[in-house]
């Protein structure tokens, strides 16, 4: 346990000090990775802890991004403190609306209907004027963090954005840690372990799954908002099944069922993207080969490398 805590503390310290390296390119890259880590963490709650494999999670990521895109005025900056909560709420509500239907089915059917709903969302943004169509929305200004006259940080400054995202990533991580240790979180893990038994013990399983789906959607919306904040541009591809697939791949890479795994997976995914695309234009081939190799030889994902030498004698649901 303590060895893990030390490793975690070191990683947090490295992340906190990273912008001091001075490279603008890498600061923005790591910001991008941290945003994807929040996205991956949100899906991990569903997949790794509730046992619901969603292939349509990008829908809520995209909704969060589009909330900023649609709320951003043309000639002035949107307010962070107004638009961010709205993005989280709208994404969460969208997830609850879809969840009310999809959570009724299991296994492969669940995967299919989550994909189907995500495709519906995608086409609404792609084909209708609601989201300004396939061209997407370009924002002329970064949101402002002003509260009245006081401006705590400047979101046009890449280093400020880095730390803003860093703090949010830490908050999401801590929130999920606490959630998973709570009675609610333990019930979710019970559902993943043996849903039938949970029902026979008196748990209203449908409601628990629905709540998990909603929370996961809300957190995905947060990640999507941050994406829109960083890039200043949203388009329907944010809701595509490629995006849903990528975030699932991050969990496979890093190992589901551990929060660290989601973060490690996001880093590994982007790292491979960067490294392989420098080697060849067919980098996706290399990425696919790596993932296949990992699934065969390291099914627990990259985060399980440390665990392989730990013998578990004490029980309790899988947590850190």
């Amino acid at each position: 346990m303590t060895r893990r805590r030390i490793a975690l503390a070191v990683a947090v310290l490295l992340l906190a000090l990273f912008p001091l390296t001075g490279s603008a390119f890498y600061t923005e890259l790591v910001t991008k990775v941290m945003i994807l880590a929040i996205f991956a963490l949100s899906l991990d709650l569903l997949v790794g802890y509730t046992g619901l494999v969603s292939f349509g999670h990008a829908a809520y990521y995209g909704v969060g991004a589009y909330v900023l895109g649609l709320m951003a005025p043309k000639y002035e900056a949107a307010n962070l403190w107004l638009t961010l909560p709205v993005a989280i709420a709208v994404a969460g509500i969208a997830a609850l609306a879809v969840g009310a239907f999809v959570v009724r089915v299991k296994g492969i059917y669940f995967i299919m209907v989550t994909l189907a709903f995500a495709q519906m969302f995608y086409f609404v943004f792609h084909d209708t004027a609601f989201g300004r169509g396939s061209d997407g929305i370009s924002m002329n200004f970064k949101p402002t963090a002003a509260i009245g006259a006081f401006v705590p940080f400047d979101l046009a400054n890449a280093t400020h954005v880095y730390y803003f995202v860093f703090v949010l990533l830490a908050l999401v991580f801590v929130f999920l840690r606490l959630l998973l240790r709570s009675t609610f979180g333990r019930a979710l893990q019970g559902i993943r372990s043996n849903e039938h038994r949970m029902r026979s013990l008196g748990f209203p399983v449908y409601l628990y799954k629905l709540a998990s789906f909603g929370i996961a959607g809300a957190l995905a919306g947060l990640a999507g908002y941050l994406y829109a904040l960083q890039f200043g541009f949203v388009n329907p591809e944010l809701l595509s099944w490629h995006q849903s697939g990528n975030v699932l791949l991050m969990l496979i890479l890093g190992g589901q069922g551990s929060l660290i795994g989601a973060v490690v997976g996001a880093f590994a995914f982007v790292a491979m993207e960067e490294i392989y695309s420098a080697v060849t234009t067919h980098w996706q081939l290399l990425l696919g080969a790596t993932i296949i190799a990992l699934v065969i030889f390291l099914p627990g994902g990259l985060a399980s490398v440390a665990q392989r030498f730990q013998r578990k004698l004490i029980g309790g649901p899988p947590n850190e």
Partner: protein, 251 residues
């Protein structure tokens, strides 16, 4: 004479052309153990599935504490105080024995909105879990991962989990399945203890166990009730002997 806590009327379940349970009437009373015997395929497990809500009935009704529960799903019935154990061990294999029981106990105090406070800090739930483990004789094994327990210990855990939900009615499906003689004896002792506080329906193959603890025995054959009454009546019944007991009538 205690009043009937749990009764069924004309309970029937069909699967296409096959009638697995046909027009069964059962009554369970507080502090009484009602055993159901029958050869394989008699419909005993289907009967328990109907009572617990795992299977909906084709026709007939189920009453509990005066209310009609026939249409209620398993989780509702459980919350009303009907606990069920499974013939095929149905636990959380990756969790410790303690966590298995703690989850079961948590179902009575779910505290759904307490999403950031530690579940292990909920003392009443943890205490209920420890008491259930104690009653089933598993205190020494509390911290072992359930999948690492012996088969007999897993059957004990199966019972402990039901007890942790503090039910009024126990529906037990072959709790002695696969147990050795010593473990079976412990389980029979446990059943005797449980009888003092619950209404029990026991489906079992172990003849000695049944005759040791049952107040009423119902014998089922091909989905129908062949005979129902006190153990002495069943033991003496020629119809039962020829249909089921054969040459092994217990003395």
């Amino acid at each position: 004479m205690s009043d009937a806590l749990f009764t069924t009327q004309g309970l029937t379940r069909r699967f296409g052309g096959l009638t697995a349970v046909n027009d069964v009437a059962i009554a369970l009373h507080r502090e009484r153990l009602h055993a159901v015997l029958g050869p394989n395929g008699a419909g005993k497990t289907t009967l328990i599935n109907l009572l617990s809500g795992d299977l909906p009935a084709s026709s007939g009704r189920i009453f509990y504490k005066g209310g009609d529960i026939s249409r209620l799903p398993p989780d509702r019935r459980s919350r009303l105080g009907i606990g069920r154990s499974y013939q095929k061990t149905n636990i959380f294999p990756a969790f410790s024995a303690f966590e298995n029981c703690r989850l079961a106990a948590q179902s009575r105090a779910p505290r759904v909105f307490a999403i950031v406070s530690d579940a292990l800090a909920q003392v009443p739930v943890c205490d209920a879990a420890r008491r259930a483990l104690d009653a089933a004789g598993l205190s020494a094994r509390a911290d072992m991962i359930a999948s690492a327990l012996s088969h007999g210990e897993q059957r004990q855990l199966e019972i402990a989990m039901v007890l942790a939900t503090a039910p009024d009615v126990l529906l037990l499906d072959e709790p002695l399945a696969g147990m050795g003689a010593e473990e079976a004896q412990l389980m029979i002792e446990l059943l005797r203890k449980l009888k003092t506080e619950h209404a029990i329906l026991l489906v079992e193959h172990d003849m000695d166990a049944v005759f040791a603890v049952a107040d009423t025995i119902t014998v089922m054959v091909n989905g129908q009730v062949l005979e129902s009454g006190p153990p002495a009546q069943i033991r003496a019944s020629a119809a039962v002997r020829s249909a089921y007991l054969g040459d092994e009538a217990p003395g």
